[in-house]
Amino acid sequence: MRPEQLVAMLEAELLPQVQKPGRYIGGELNRVAKDHAELDVTLALAFPDVYEVGMSHVGLKILYELVNRLDWACAERAYAPWPDMEERMRERGVPLYSLETFTPLADFDVVGFSLQYELCATNVLRMLDLAGIPRTADERLERGGPLVIAGGPCAFSCEPIAPYLDAVILGDAEEAIVRVLETMREAKRSGEVLSRPPAREALLRQLATGGLGVYVPQFYRITYGADGGVAAIDRRFDDLPLPVERAVVRDLDAALYPTAPVVPLVNVVHDRAVLEVMRGCTRGCRFCQAGMIYRPVRERRMETLLGQARNTLRQTGLEEISLSSLSTGDYSRIGELVTALADELKADATSITLPSLRVDTYSVELAEQVARIKRTGITFAPETGGERLRAVINKPLRDSELLEAATAAYSRGWHLIKLYFMIGLPTETDDDLAAITELIAKVSAARRPHDGRRGGVNVAVSCFVPKAHTPFQWLGFGPQAELRDRIKFLRERVRSKAVKLRFHDPEKSYLEAVFSRGDRRLAPVVAEAVRLGARFDDWSEHFRFERWQRAFDAAGVDPDAYAYRAFPLDAVLPWEHLSPRVDKAFLRAELERAWRGELTPDCRTGGCRFCGSICDV
């Protein structure tokens, strides 16, 4: 379908009939639309969730600007259409298209998916189907089609969808994407017909051996053992890397950061400008995958950030700016940065959000700085109730520190505090759960001395999912029944009207556990789930656990074996060949320290622990 036809059909027949049609029309401020006839390579950045979620994501904004600065390439955007739109597109034979030029995705040279969470797998398949792109890398080798690549945090545990991907960029994709496109450009120039298997395979081999952090799943053979686990991972050619090591931006301050991001037309989840103040976190919380796969800590200079803030606001008019990172409170000049920004932004009422602060009174002081412009919520993540269990997960925090921070927040005008907890952590007992309830009550009571009232507390409780490449990667999940008991335990004991409890669905967490610990034998399950109607599984309104159970049955796969199995320490892990550049020996030592309840200090202050990451510490 030509773009003009597609637009005509959209305007007349589709857009008037769907919810929130503004998601599908493009034309936003700062979007870049180039003439494909003048380009060597075209890239579609595909986000396997709806516009409002995808447009809130920073990673793709970086790649969008980086690629669009090249005069020989373009990057355009596509998001998963909401079910009502998807249905109408199918009925009318309208293929998935890019928002910039209404070009069908199948006509791009490269389609790149951002994998932000495990449960987006069904949407990846649906987007390929809707684009008319053959699903598997094998089919595309035979029949041609765009090079389908992926990146994002779930690239490190992408095995369950590996057969659907031609190549996967591990790590900081801005370090690799231009080289990937250049390789594509050279291949096209060579006159080889890329739809022919040998040419396509040669291109993939070039990508895989280029030292770019590119993993080509079809070049690695997985053998399974009698115990049901992975027995061996082999490469098909000797020149392939094993393991594939992730791409790393060494100098974040010099790296491109987009100051003219596309401004969304409809209200999106995070409708604000974002400053990435630093990347990586070395606090070493043992449950946290991001804290392992984004090492080491790299900061941007304060002057750079202030300049980027000014530029971004001037080019977008956004009314809020977020200081983003895994732990913004750890930015070395956070106080100065916040004060300087608040002074500058107060005049035109641009508000500042600090999404990831530490639990201490200093954080409350920072929050008060930004409240000079507009008061936003205050959130602390103690993760669990007792100090013993916090030592196990290596998140040292004394209850007294949290209570001091809560007291400070209430006395400075906040009425509501948000707390994050996890249940199902290793070694957790009823005592730890009881400690959570006591802590919540104490936080709420911390307002009493201020004005005699109880403070509001919103509590979000999630289920611990053991993630690949963390010290807890060897452990099993849940089990579900036990998690439900723990939820009941908390519900029964937290009775105060001032406290609102919210729980993450244990069935969803279970499925996350299956997929974050899974291997390629899960790929047919994803296809079966799609056939049964699964999509937007991260959305409670669309998630149906029984659909997944049927899919597992039909594919003859036992999900319990994936979710609950504990890997022996010497086992070959399903993600063994994908390296975030953190040594397995380090992770194992951390697991052993967890069992002993020993803390490991942040290497930025407490000395090197030889995690294997490339850094200057």
Partner: protein
Amino acid sequence: MTHQQAERITARVEFAKRGRLRFIGHLDTARAIMRAVRAAGLPARTTQGCSPHLDASFGPALPLGLTAGSELFDVRLAEPVDVVAAREALQAHLPDGLVIRSVRLITGKTESLGAWLDQADYTVHVPAEIMIAPEAVEQFLASDEAVVVRTRGERERAVNVRRYVERLEAFDEPGGGTRLEMTIAITPEGSASAAEVLGLLVGDEAARHPGVRIERDRVYHADEAAAR
């Protein structure tokens, strides 16, 4: 007026909403324009209080799916601006389909646009497949009752919209089809939508035909327009 209390200055901006942009709603349109004001660096005033925002006001909401030829919004300024430069700067920071037609400065007190604008003109293009009986328009105008049923969630409500329709005319289009022109009053008690009027003439199903195009040509204050 004291020395500190500067004269009140409002920029009144006339804009059009075209093409695919008709698929974004009133609040999304307002947000895009306010962001353009900020990005353009106009010396706009902000409200005080715990959730400060631009001191701006918009006219009555344009229904989703309609294009518009002349809508208005007001934004209070701290100091006068060059209106030509302001128009260009605003235009440079808007999405495709939002077109700034003019900017003018008003000194002194202004009423909120939402309350002040009380009438709008519409043009409805009806494709040839939909027949409009020649007497339908006459009958509509001759009657003093024309009831539509509005649903909001579970609730249904019958509304007589006849009294809001000030003018209704039908013209044959050169290429076939019909062009309806109408003037509709916007009152504190309520108003009619052009789609409702079309539905009364041709039936609700025909009114939803994908070939129907509705444009709000302009929205204005009736007394001021008459004075001109």
